[in-house]
Symmetry: C2
Subunit: 262 residues, 2 copies
């Protein structure tokens, strides 16, 4: 669940566009193997501006999808993006207005990484999942990023983001133990690695620049305020990070997708 204080990337129009770029570029990689049967009751938790919801709907055109978020503004943007095909609901993840076992499937994408206690969140979600139903969790892991040319300056800017993110920016690698600790069984995690190079200009633009570098750049002011960096050091780091999208550069990042049974 994204709350106004906890969501490190903010709520600006720029950020909404970034989330859309990210979701469209990565849709095949992250969502191609998610499809729920007609009529099945699916809950998306922390839908934000609907960047992933649009792909959830595309992959499960006849499922009964409910999407919740804590932010009314995000929900309004999500409804604008996706329409009334989805039941929209403003709610806190820890106080979901649903009965025990009301859903057959849970879908959680880029949410746990922003929470201080992801296992508690997963426990709260499991309550509304029918026994034997499935959970799907997708998260990033900013410690998975590596690139060419390698640069300690670029790494410094990523490290600032990792330190400033409430929750755990390195959560992707922990999905198996986290879902297991929350009581899910048959947990299966697969890495989904993006590799952007000259053969994939759409990934260089859509992922390296418009998703990853944009995300790092958005914490600049907070990194300066927190004394984690200086203007000169930050500028040098961002320039090096951008350079990985130049001809001859490469950028690699791994997302993780977990499924489990409640």
């Amino acid at each position: 669940m994204r709350t106004a204080t906890a969501y490190v990337h903010g709520y600006s129009a720029t950020e909404a566009r970034r989330l859309g770029d990210q979701a469209d570029t990565l849709a095949e990689l992250l969502h191609h193997d998610t499809g729920y049967p007609a009529g099945s009751r699916v809950l998306e938790v922390g839908c934000g501006v609907g960047a992933q919801t649009v792909h959830l709907v595309a992959g499960s055109p006849a499922a009964a999808i409910t999407a919740v978020d804590v932010s009314a503004a995000s929900l309004a943007a999500a409804r604008d993006r996706v329409g009334d095909r989805v039941r929209w609901c403003r709610a806190d993840l820890f106080a979901l207005p649903f009965q025990d076992g009301e859903f057959e499937h849970l879908f959680v994408c880029f949410v746990l990484e922003h929470l201080p206690d992801p296992v508690a969140a997963l426990h709260a979600l499991r309550r509304v999942l029918r026994p034997g139903g499935t959970v799907t969790v997708i998260e990033g892991d900013h410690g998975s990023a590596f690139y060419h040319p390698a640069s300690p300056h670029a790494q410094h800017t990523i490290d600032c983001l990792v330190r400033l993110q409430p929750g755990d920016a390195l959560i992707g690698r922990r999905l198996h133990p986290l879902l297991t600790a929350a009581g899910f069984r048959d947990v299966a995690v697969t890495p989904r690695t993006v590799h952007a190079d000259d053969a994939h200009p759409h990934l260089v633009a859509g992922f390296t620049h418009n998703t990853f570098v944009a995300m790092v750049e958005a914490v600049r002011d907070r990194a300066l305020t927190a004394g984690l960096t200086t203007e000169a050091r930050w500028r040098e780091g961002i320039a090096d990070l951008r350079r990985t999208g130049d001809p001859g550069g490469t950028f690699t990042y791994t997302f993780f997708k977990a499924t489990g049974v409640g």
Copy 2:
């Protein structure tokens, strides 16, 4: 090409077994999409003890495969492993005893990472490739490793390996620019990510322990001799690295596979 001085992992029986474990565990991930037509002339360069050759043969049962290595002892071990299905040839990569354009396909696996000038090596290989023929290159990237629990001590041992490896232990991320610089066209690189967790005990054993940790452990003496570590620091780092294979731990590593046209 592996030379006695350049091949950081050494030539022991333990290392031969490690290479076999690695190849068998990763065969599907790395080799499932390599298959050459019946009768096509394929050259494997730097076959070592034949750990990958056995999978090359399995995927291309009717291709005419030649395998070269600079080490007579390795070639003997490879012949023991694979048999006379392959034409074995002792040769230096920079002085291949073949005519220009003699092969239709080149296969190079875990070789470039050990060389001081991988582009020069690729140029030398391209000479024996028929114009329009294909090259396939598979390499690791030790900077791609991340794991849970995260540990600076464990990272220190990996950093020692990276510093001690002649060539470039971070070469995987550079395959696209390297093959392009060597004159190959239509270069396409795909990441192949291994994620070992409790759901995959064969990967924890075969990859985390018997491949990766074993590879790091093998440079212990050289790291001590070079003054890169101390006995206490090394012991602590290896213990933390092993811990990523304990229940609740995870280990992630990305290989890269490149193809191009000569």
